[in-house]
């Protein structure tokens, strides 16, 4: 400032830092759970429990699985009997090749979670980056990117994944990263579309012009003013896409374009091997991997739909009614405080320097 006031303290930062940010992040995660209700809450909680169980299984697979995913003989060196019924040493039985089904299902969870996480990260990164760029820069960049993404989007998901997996398998091999990249190609266009649309509308906001008026570079505007706001629509799609990605991964495995059996255990591949067994009355080789797929897909879908229900503004209106009731001790929350308007920190706002009432409702 031209006439600086007395500094409050010598640059050391007189106010506690970090706490606010970490606290806000935690509150952000907790928010959908706290503000959900009814069916939405049921879906959200059930889905989260299923997903957490699967993730725990994946993380602790080495402890949970009695055998390795490609192990066909016990520690004594004796080969497992094939087609053993569930029970005894082999909780879910054994397969034609003599694999332990329980171990394969557990290791399969690890594969699924790894691949989907990788794919999610790749596609989020690429999709968000390109969407932001196209939406912000506009002009020919936008037109070219939209054209490419539309073309990708028009292809059937599994076909696209197969083509990418096939092309990559020569260079990258048949492991988890190939599968993840194949799935990435499928989901990039979705993030791209959502983020681009959000960017195009956010770009017109006054705060973006304010940033320009401050002298911010385009990159700063994109990262500090646009990204943080457009990213908010992503968790819902990401969760729903994760569910879809599990199916795509299994589909790839089932058709033989996925992860090679020597690289990792994979449910889709196991299912494909189990097809022949069903005729012979061997149900356990197919049932358990199939069940694992269903549970994980269901968990992710419930979570995504639950999030959608609580975070979608159209539905949120219903939820607003009880919140905007006049409160005696603290002022009523603004409409866009929807999630936050549960009374927290309202106490502090009560000691305002002057009596001011917000007109945010009219303004936005």
């Amino acid at each position: 400032m031209a006439t600086p006031n007395t500094p409050l303290s010598g640059g050391g930062g007189p106010f506690p830092q970090g706490r606010g940010r970490a606290g806000r992040a935690l509150r952000g995660i907790a928010r959908p759970y706290r503000s959900s209700h009814g069916v939405g809450r049921f879906m959200l909680v059930t889905g989260t429990v299923l997903v957490v169980l699967m993730v725990l299984t994946a993380v602790f697979a080495p402890l949970l699985a009695p055998f390795g995913f490609a192990q066909v003989s016990g520690d004594d060196g004796q080969r497992f009997a094939t087609h053993l019924e569930p029970g005894g040493d082999h909780l879910f039985g054994t397969t034609t090749q003599g694999f332990d089904v329980f171990s394969r299902v557990v290791w399969g969870a690890r594969t699924a979670v790894t691949v989907v996480l990788l794919a999610l990260m790749f596609s989020l990164f690429i999709g968000v980056l390109l969407g932001l760029l196209a939406g912000f820069v506009g002009r020919w960049v936008d037109r070219v990117l939209v054209m490419i993404m539309d073309a990708l989007f028009a292809l059937p998901a599994l076909l696209l994944a197969i083509v990418v997996a096939f092309l990559l398998s020569e260079y990258v091999g048949g492991g988890a990263s190939t599968a993840a990249l194949a799935i990435t190609a499928v989901y990039v266009p979705q993030y791209f579309r959502v983020v681009r649309a959000a960017t195009v509308s956010a770009k017109e906001q006054t705060y973006v012009e304010a940033a320009r008026a401050m002298g911010a570079k385009p990159v700063t505007i994109m990262v500090r003013y646009l990204l943080t706001n457009v990213i908010q629509s992503v968790p819902v799609i990401a969760t729903l896409n994760a569910a879809d990605a599990i199916l795509t991964l299994a589909g790839l495995g089932f058709l033989g374009y996925g992860i090679q059996p020597t690289e990792a255990a994979e449910w889709g591949y196991d299912l494909q091997r189990a097809v022949a067994d069903t005729g012979a009355g061997i149900w356990w080789t197919g049932l358990f991997p199939g069940l694992a797929i269903v549970l994980l897909v269901m968990g992710l879908t419930l979570m995504g739909e639950g999030l959608n229900e609580t975070m979608n503004p159209a539905i949120r209106v219903r939820r607003l009614l009880p919140v905007s009731m006049p409160e005696l001790t603290s002022r009523t929350s603004a409409p866009d405080a929807a999630g936050a308007g549960t009374g927290r920190e309202r106490g502090a706002a009560g000691e305002r320097p002057e009596q001011e009432t917000s007109k945010d409702g009219d303004a936005s």
Binding site: P14, Q205, A210, G215, E351, D362
Partner: protein, 437 residues
């Protein structure tokens, strides 16, 4: 409303040095026509949002830009800061012409040129907390070394704008603040880099009545403390009277009158200013003033009137004010609204489709065949019915020839800003050469 602090009027305003000099500034927006129209080469219409503005901003003054919605105030304010590219003209500031710099060259200058927005809620990034938002200009311009330093400076600025104690606001998100508090935060962000010029675009129009005066007082305090120059944009004359040293009245992208606030309020020269002031019965901002402007709406910005753009609404309009075909049509519309359906049915059959009376031509030809004498007498009757209608002053002749009635108007002249005492005004009434004797 408290009285205006002394220093603003005590200094003889002409004695102040010029901070920014604006010469013949134009900002035109190309409106895209339909795809077909563009294909046929017609192109879209052009909105002359700012159309030839001359202005010398003096250091330390508060200049009000006053006008109805759509008169180009915001566009002019943004153009001063280089936020919209100038179509033509010069903005001389600090030895440079802002109109010629590109965005990259403008960025370092933005420290000194800041803006306060109409809607404080929209002007703050909803996902950035107040301390980060307020300190961000410092970080952008590399004026602080660390987050902690930025935060401390933000705390200072926040307290400076009356958000005390700062700790209570630093970690809040914009949504947790009231409208007035948000506007204070926006002001804190605007002053944190030590600007010279602040463009405030209707900074209080979206706030509650109870806080409006406080925000203006804060801005006056800041001006005194930080040596600021303000361009204050408003459609509300009452606050302009309280807040500004000089006011510029804008109409359709032009300044039609500019001068010291006291003088303009005491003795407005331009008929538009007079009308605006009549619509403000009382300088009390608590009162919602009725807009009681003379007939008609602000004209279509994509097709501004010929001559003086205010002439279709001006009660004093006379010969050189820019009469054209559209005014004849408007005259008939007013006449038929007044006289009712029967007259409309009878006369519209004679006049023909009003929509076809269009264009800028200073001469209208109505092809009516053998009913020409009837039309001439109708025009005479209309004139006799309302002889005070300014349009008739502009009609030079009405001739009937071979089934065509030709109405000729006097040539229109575009009024330029010229002196009338301490005030500059763009109106032929104040032009010694054109003014009626």
């Amino acid at each position: 409303m408290p009285t205006k602090p002394e220093p603003s009027t005590a200094v003889e305003s002409d004695a102040r040095p010029t901070l920014m000099d604006i010469r013949d500034l134009r900002v035109h927006y190309e409106l895209r026509g339909s795809a077909l129209a563009r294909l046929l080469g017609g192109g879209g219409a052009t909105v002359k949002a700012v159309d030839g503005v001359n202005l010398a901003l003096r250091r330390g003054e508060v200049l009000g830009l006053v006008g109805e919605s759509g008169s180009g105030k915001t566009t002019l304010g943004r153009a001063l800061l280089g936020l919209v590219p100038a179509t033509a003209g010069h903005i001389t500031y600090g030895g440079q012409d802002l109109a010629e710099l590109n965005q990259r060259q403008l960025r370092p200058m933005r420290r000194r040129l800041q803006m306060v927005f109409q809607d404080p809620h929209a002007a703050l990034n909803p996902s950035m907390d107040i301390s980060t938002a307020v300190a961000h200009p410092l970080r952008i311009h590399g004026l602080v070394g660390s987050r902690a330093e930025g935060r401390a400076r933000a705390a200072e600025a926040i307290e400076r704008v009356g958000l005390v104690p700062a700790e209570q606001f630093l970690d809040k998100l914009p949504v947790e603040l009231s409208g007035g508090q948000k506007q204070r935060a926006v002001i804190a962000r605007a002053i944190i880099c030590g600007p010279e010029l602040l463009v405030a675009d209707e900074p209080i129009s979206m706030l509650d009545m109870s806080v409006r005066a406080k925000i203006l007082e804060l801005m006056l305090e800041l001006r005194a403390d930080l040596d600021l120059t303000y361009v204050y944009i408003t459609h509300d004359l009452a606050t302009a009277k309280f807040f500004c040293d000089r006011v510029a009245i804008m109409y359709m992208g032009r300044i039609v009158e500019i001068g010291p606030t006291d003088e303009i309020f005491a003795d407005p020269k331009h008929p538009y200013t007079q009308a605006l002031l009549r619509a403000v019965p009382d300088p009390d901002p608590e009162r919602q003033v009725p807009r009681d402007l003379p007939r008609g709406e602000i004209a279509d910005a994509a097709a501004p009137p010929h001559g003086c753009s205010f002439h279709p609404r001006c009660p004093y309009a006379f010969e050189p004010c820019g009469w054209e075909a559209r005014d004849l049509r408007a005259m008939f519309e007013r006449r038929w609204t007044e006289l009712g359906e029967e007259v409309w049915e009878r006369e519209s059959a004679l006049v023909g489709e009003l929509d076809e009376i269009e264009g800028y031509q200073e001469q209208v030809r109505l092809k009516v065949g053998d009913r020409a004498p009837e039309l001439v007498s109708l025009l005479d009757e209309a004139r006799a019915h309302d002889p005070d209608e300014p349009l008739w002053r502009g009609v030079e002749s009405i001739d009937s020839d071979d089934g065509t009635v030709t109405v000729r108007f006097r040539a229109g002249v575009d009024p330029a800003l010229g002196p009338a005492g301490n005030i500059d005004v763009a109106c032929h009434l104040h032009n010694p050469e054109l003014r009626p004797k």
